[in-house]
Each structure stands twice: as C-alpha cells, then as structure tokens.
C-alpha cells in the first residue's frame, strides 16, 4: 500500500513539473511551428535564478517571481529578435534554438559552476503530511496542487476567454487571424513569453525536488518533447494527460526496472506514436 501511495504521488508531482514544461512547448509549436530546443534553458535559468535570489533574500517567493519574470522577458526577446525572422522555417528554428541551448548551458556553467545545487523548499510547505498513515512530503503535495491549478487555469482561459479564442484560432489558421486584424506578432511574442515563464516556473518548483545541475536543461527538454509528442502537438489537454502518463511511468519504471529507467519513458512514446502518429490528442 505504502509503495503504491508513494509512487503514485511521486509520479503525480513529477507529472506537474512536466506539464509546466510541456504546456508552453506545445502551445509554441502549435501556434508558431517552433521546435524550441532552448525550452530547457528557461527551466535551468529559472531554477538557478530562483536559487540565487533565495540565497540573497532568504525568501522563496521573491526569487520565484524574479526568475519567472526574467525567463519570460528573455523568451520574448528571443522570439522578437531572433525567431520571428525565421517564421515557418522549422529546421533553421531548431538549429537556432539548439544554438541558444548550448550558449545558455555554457553561461549557466560559467556562473553557477559544475556542482549540483539543491534549492531549499519554501519554509511554509516543508515537513510531511500523513496520507492513509503514510508520511509524505508536504512540498510535493503543494506542487501537485499548483500544477493542477495552473492546468485548470490554462484550460479555462483557452476555452472561455477572448485571448483563448484568439490562440485557438491561431492554432487552426494563422493567416486568417492576421486577415481579421489580430496583432499576430504581438500574440506570438506573448505566447512565447508565457511558455518561457511556465518552463521557468517548472524549474523554480522542480529545483528543490530534482536538484539543479549542468545538463538538466538537456534532460528536461527531451522529457518535455516526449510529453508533447505523446500528447499531440499543440494540445494543452494532450500535454496534461501525457504528463500524467510519463510521470507515472517514470516512477513505476524506476521502481520496477531501475536498470532501464530512461528506456521505460521512451518506449511507451514509441508505442503511442506507432498507433497514433499525431499523439493522443493531436490533429494531423
């Protein structure tokens, strides 16, 4: 029983970090067709910035806010200054963002060095809670709560607000959207900033759990790609369900087949894609 509770909850908390990464990635792809390799950089920079700000101020929240805002600003700058010049050129964009991933990775190594750091959890959410008699870290529950809340928020605003309607229209037909007078470049910049901010939040919240180290950017961006392709490119709901699937599979895979830990993530992805090349909820 303990085994199941702990692994399910661990899986869910990992899933929420994955969702923060994948939701932005999938929106950016759906809307702008950008295969954004630099998405992992936002995660890493978010985690490191929050760590440094926390060390300087002693509090969690200001560091978190600074990290997310900085990543969003960086994301917007990258989209406006670089990616917008390569509109609809998937390969060039992939190459560009890969270059950025390398550059940021090296800068982070330069500033924060090669040793892993473990950011502290916010004091408010430290300690454990009893769940059916099993003591469980409160922070992970907090993480699950935040993830679910953000998922609902994203879901709701996409389905029920004007901005959401514009984004959905953009997913379907971006040219028509320009035609009816929507400021598409601004929309792109904002969505990209949102994606970067969400990834940074993933780093801020995930850092205390997974640790922050050189190479984490590569690791998470690949996991995020798995989630996005399994969920279906451009689908927030798909990203959500795929995050749950990958998060749970990763935890139980680690528990049952520790030698094949990474393989247990990539294999289900191949299986899903063999049956549905466009992912669980993607459109052709």
């Amino acid at each position: 029983m303990t085994f199941w509770i702990v692994n399910i909850l661990n899986g869910l908390s990992l899933a929420m970090i994955l969702f923060l990464l994948a939701s932005g990635l999938t929106l950016a792809f759906g809307l702008m067709r950008i295969v954004n390799m630099a998405h992992g950089s936002f995660y890493l920079l978010g985690a490191y910035l929050a760590f440094s700000a926390m060390q300087a101020s002693g509090y969690f929240l200001p560091g978190a806010v600074i990290a997310v805002m900085a990543a969003a600003a960086l994301g917007m700058a990258i989209q406006r200054l670089l990616l917008s010049r390569l509109h609809k050129q998937e390969l060039s964009q992939a190459l560009l963002t890969l270059g950025l991933l390398f550059i940021f990775s090296d800068i982070a190594f330069w500033i924060w060095g090669g040793n892993p750091v473990l950011p502290l959890q916010p004091a408010l959410f430290s300690g454990t809670v009893n769940i059916f008699g099993v003591p469980y870290p409160f922070y992970r529950l907090f993480l699950i709560g935040v993830g679910l809340l953000l998922a609902l928020l994203l879901w709701y605003s996409l389905d029920n607000t004007k901005i959401g309607a514009i984004i959905r229209a953009g997913l379907d037909d971006e040219e028509m959207l320009r035609g009816i007078g929507v400021n598409v470049p601004l929309l792109f910049a904002c969505v990209f900033a949102l994606a970067a901010g969400l990834a940074a939040l993933g780093g801020v919240l995930g850092g205390p759990l997974l640790g922050v180290f050189p190479g984490a950017d590569f690791e998470v961006v690949l996991l995020a790609f798995v989630v996005v392709t399994v969920g279906g490119l451009g689908s927030i709901a798909g990203a959500f369900w795929a995050s749950l699937l990958v998060g749970l599979i990763d935890n139980f895979g680690n528990a049952w087949f520790p030698q094949l830990s990474l393989f247990t993530i990539f294999l289900p992805m191949i299986l899903v894609l063999a049956v549905r090349p466009t992912g669980l909820m993607g459109r052709a």
Partner: protein, 305 residues
C-alpha cells in the same frame, strides 16, 4: 573532379610525412565527411530534416564494440555486423518516422535516437553505461595511424563515388523530385514513401560506416556518440557546407574538425562557440556558407559591372 583527384593524391602521398596526431585529425575529417554526406542524402536530396541521425552512427559503433568485446567476434565479422544492425534499426524506425512530416519528423527522429541513447546510458551490463566501452583494438595491419588513415581514405573515396553515382541516377533525381514537390511526384505515379524509405536506409548505411570508422579511430564508444549533440553537429556540417550537394557536407566536416581543433586549443568555451555558430548560420546562412559566399560574390561583381 580533377581538383578532387589532386587533393586525394596529395593526401595519399603526403601522409607518411605527417605526425600521428595530424593523421588522426585527417581521419576524423574523412569520417565526419562520410557521416555528413549520409545525412545529406536525407536532408539535402530528399528533404527529410532528421535530428536523430547519430542513432545509426552510434548504434553501429556500439553493436560492433559489444560483440567484439563481449563475444570476441573477430574484426572481419564484427564491423559488418555493426553496419547491419544500424540498417535494420533504420528499417524499423522509419516505418514510424516516415508516417510524419516536417516539425513532427524532426521530433520523432530525435526521440528515436534518444531511445537508443537511453539504452546506452541505462543498460549498464551491456553497454558500460556512462563510461562506455573502451579497449577496442585495431587489427595489426591497420593499427598504425597511417595504416588506418589509408583505410579511411579508401572507404571515403568508395563512399563518395557510390553516393555520387546514386544522386546522378534516376533514383537520385526522383529523390530530388520528392524534396521539391511530393504531391507532383505522387501524381506522376511515383511511390513517394518507397523513395523516402530507400533514402533513409542508404543514409543509415553510410552513417553506420562512418560510425565504424569512428569506433576504430578512437578504440572506444560512449553514449555521447548517440547523443543529440552529435546529431546536431552532423546537421551543422551539412548546413554549413551546402545541403543538396556532396561537396558541401565534405567541406562542412573539414571546417568543423578544424574549428574544433582551433577553438579547443584556445578556450574551454567550446559549447558557447558552437552554439553561437549555430545561431549565426540559422540567421544568416540557412542555405549554407558556400551559397552565402557565392551570393556575396555575385552581388559584388554585379555592382562592379
């Protein structure tokens, strides 16, 4: 053609005068040149932008290393077996990858290569995990740097000839047709899927050959041979030169090895430099440095006239 023959003759004649280190650099250039040409068959000729080509390069090296070291299979058998393993993997992977296109294809090829990478990292008993598999020795006749250089040069010449025959054949033109306009090729009665599948197998075959050369050059293989970094590097070699020509990728490979050599002797910041170059190429020379320079030259002569 004459110039190419002259360069090759000069290389072959000059090799004995070079140090072992210089010979290894040349061998590395030729190896990467084969690897880059193989990707170009996909990217430049057929229009399939793979971000996971390291899969076939690394798998061949791993398969050969595993059976030689664990089962003591002799060289003459182990090397072809590694190549075969890669081609078989390509035959399976592309059943999946070719169901998608463009951005999806990029991601799926990346994911498939990651599948192999993850096996290499986590299946420690078989692959040695992060440490890789060291200790592979070249057979006596090609143990020296010069001996192995001549082998690599020969393989390079044969590969280049084979590929240039391919791209000038009717099949090669059909591949270019697929790149330019799939729908029209289909309307003309070509089975587009078959051509793409064939190109994928050829690309995997030559990537695997390069992988074997890489393995025997270093006597060692580690998960980085399967990593996205290597896939990106070979992609860059093709794009730096000029996709859709065979000379472009060769030039790209030579430039890459030279750059790596120069940069690593001056600074530790190789990752930064290479990242910066990716960005510059993506922004300013997406058609390749060759095309960029040719365009510049044309503009200048026009202005002068």
């Amino acid at each position: 053609m004459v110039a190419a023959a002259a360069v090759i003759l000069a290389l072959a004649a000059g090799a004995p005068a070079l140090s072992a280190y210089q010979l290894d650099l040349l061998t590395q250039m030729l190896t990467y040149a084969i690897f880059a040409m193989s990707l170009d068959i996909l990217l430049g000729y057929t229009g399939l932008p793979s971000l996971g080509h390291a899969a076939y390069f690394g798998l061949a090296a791993y398969a050969t290393a595993i059976i030689s070291l664990r089962l003591s299979v002799p060289f003459a058998l182990a090397a072809p077996a590694g190549v075969a393993a890669s081609v078989i993997a390509a035959a399976l992977f592309n059943l999946l990858a070719l169901r998608t296109s463009r951005g999806y294809y990029l991601m799926i090829t990346l994911a498939l290569s990651q599948l192999l990478w993850s096996l290499a990292v986590s299946w420690t008993e078989l692959t040695g995990g992060d440490n890789g598999l060291p200790g592979l020795e070249r057979p006596g006749a090609i143990a020296s740097a010069a001996g192995f250089f001549y082998v690599t040069l020969t393989v390079f010449i044969v590969s280049t000839l084979a590929l240039s025959v391919l791209v000038r054949s009717p099949v090669g033109y059909a591949l270019k047709g697929v790149r330019e306009n799939e729908g029209r090729m289909r309307a003309l009665g070509y089975d587009v899927w078959k051509y793409k599948y064939f190109a994928s197998l050829v690309a995997a075959l030559f990537a695997a050959i390069a992988g074997e050369l890489f393995l025997y050059l270093n006597g060692f293989v580690s998960p980085s041979a399967l990593s996205v970094t290597v896939s990106a590097q070979v992609l860059m070699m093709v794009l730096v030169g000029a996709a859709g020509t065979l000379f472009g990728p060769i030039l790209g490979a030579v430039m890459f090895v030279l750059l790596q050599y120069v940069v690593s002797s001056y600074t530790q910041r190789w990752l930064f430099v290479i990242g910066f170059i990716y960005v510059i190429i993506a922004l300013y020379a997406p058609q390749g440095v060759l095309a960029f320079l040719a365009e510049r030259l044309r503009r200048r002569t026009r202005r002068a006239a």
